[in-house]
Amino acid sequence: MWIWFHKFGSPRYFYDLAGRLIPWLGGACAVLMAVGLYLGLFVAPSDYQQGESYRIIYIHVPSAWMSMFVYVVMASAGTVVLIWRVKLAEIIASVSAPLGASFTFLALATGSLWGKPMWGTWWVWDARLTSELILLFLYFGFMALEAAIEDKRTAARATAILSLVGVINIPIIHYSVYWWNTLHQGATVTKMDTPSIHLSMLIPLLLMAAAFQLYYATVLLMGARTELLSRERRTRWVAEVIRNS
């Protein structure tokens, strides 16, 4: 385990491994997204209450899930940074922040485009929408703090603390629809009993969710490789890599 940990943590090994994984992850993402979009937009039936407008679910829900998942990845990487000072964890947290912010923005924007025709409003200050907006500001805070500190290693520690402070928001987002009266409805897929969504609508949703995960993995690894090269630009292995490219 420890040997694996150190081997994986070695920059050169990670760089090569990520480089080999990226085409596969990206290819799988493209395939799943194509199938998911086809099933979601052409094959899935319209909803008994919401008609065709519910099709926004196929991007809104995966974005919202990813907005929270990426934050958890960021905070976990932050914990590793604070305890073990692993450089790679610093890079993963740093590259994740703009991606997580993008997913959060998409969840809010597509939710707004869904809320206007269905609820009758673009925005309400209910607990779910407000806590998701706070998540967006947490990502912005992370990026601003990182940009404000010149030394990358100090910045990584400061932002790790910030991400850990904000992690409390994640359970609040998830349970907000149960703890308070909200305009936003409760969970559909992650309910304890069977999901209350018809199978023909659920399958494209899960495909899209998997595609979003793979998208994140692909772009994260691409960003991490670049960041790794940048931070180690004076080393011999980077010179070798550049010469061979």
């Binding site: 008994y48 305890i83 009758g120 607990a127 308070w180 909200t182 305009l183 969970a187 609508m201």
Partner: protein, 149 residues
């Protein structure tokens, strides 16, 4: 694990626990203010303010929707299955507004206990299904209700 790292783990755990505890206490204190709407039961108990505007949430009672002659003003009743509040509203209703659906209305109570809404939002549930399945389920519910009666 080196003592230095163990200390860091302790510090981080304490920090997360502290923030979690503080947030839990804070949220508990503001519980009422974070309520997006009041239910008809809460209104009946006098929990909602009568001097300020507030939000009322519940199901539109089946068969209660009536339109005034001006064609824009509607009257309907909202229930949480225990209590009922009558609502009047002038304006365009959202697409999802229908009898039996959940809604949230912003407005205030008048002296007669009628809720004068200034804004009506539709709340949708977490169920998604094709129209045929929805129809079949409604038919099954009706059949069940007939048997029980």
């Amino acid at each position: 694990m080196t003592p230095k790292r163990r200390k860091r783990v302790m510090l981080i755990s304490l920090m997360v626990l502290g923030i979690g505890g503080a947030t839990a206490l804070g949220l508990n204190a503001f519980r009422q203010n974070l309520l997006f709407f009041f239910s008809p039961s809460q209104v009946a108990n006098g929990e909602a303010t009568t001097d300020r505007a507030f939000r009322l949430g519940g199901m539109v009672v089946d068969g209660s929707l009536a339109r005034e002659d001006d064609g824009l003003t509607v009257r309907f009743a909202v229930t949480d299955t225990a209590e009922v509040v009558n609502v009047t509203y002038t304006g365009i209703l959202p697409d999802l507004f229908r009898e039996g659906q959940g809604i949230v209305a912003m407005g205030r109570l008048d002296q007669t206990g009628v809720f004068k809404a200034e804004e009506v939002l539709a709340k949708h549930d977490e169920n998604y299904m094709p129209p045929e399945v929805g129809e079949a389920m409604k038919a099954a519910q009706r059949a069940k209700a007939r048997v029980e009666n």
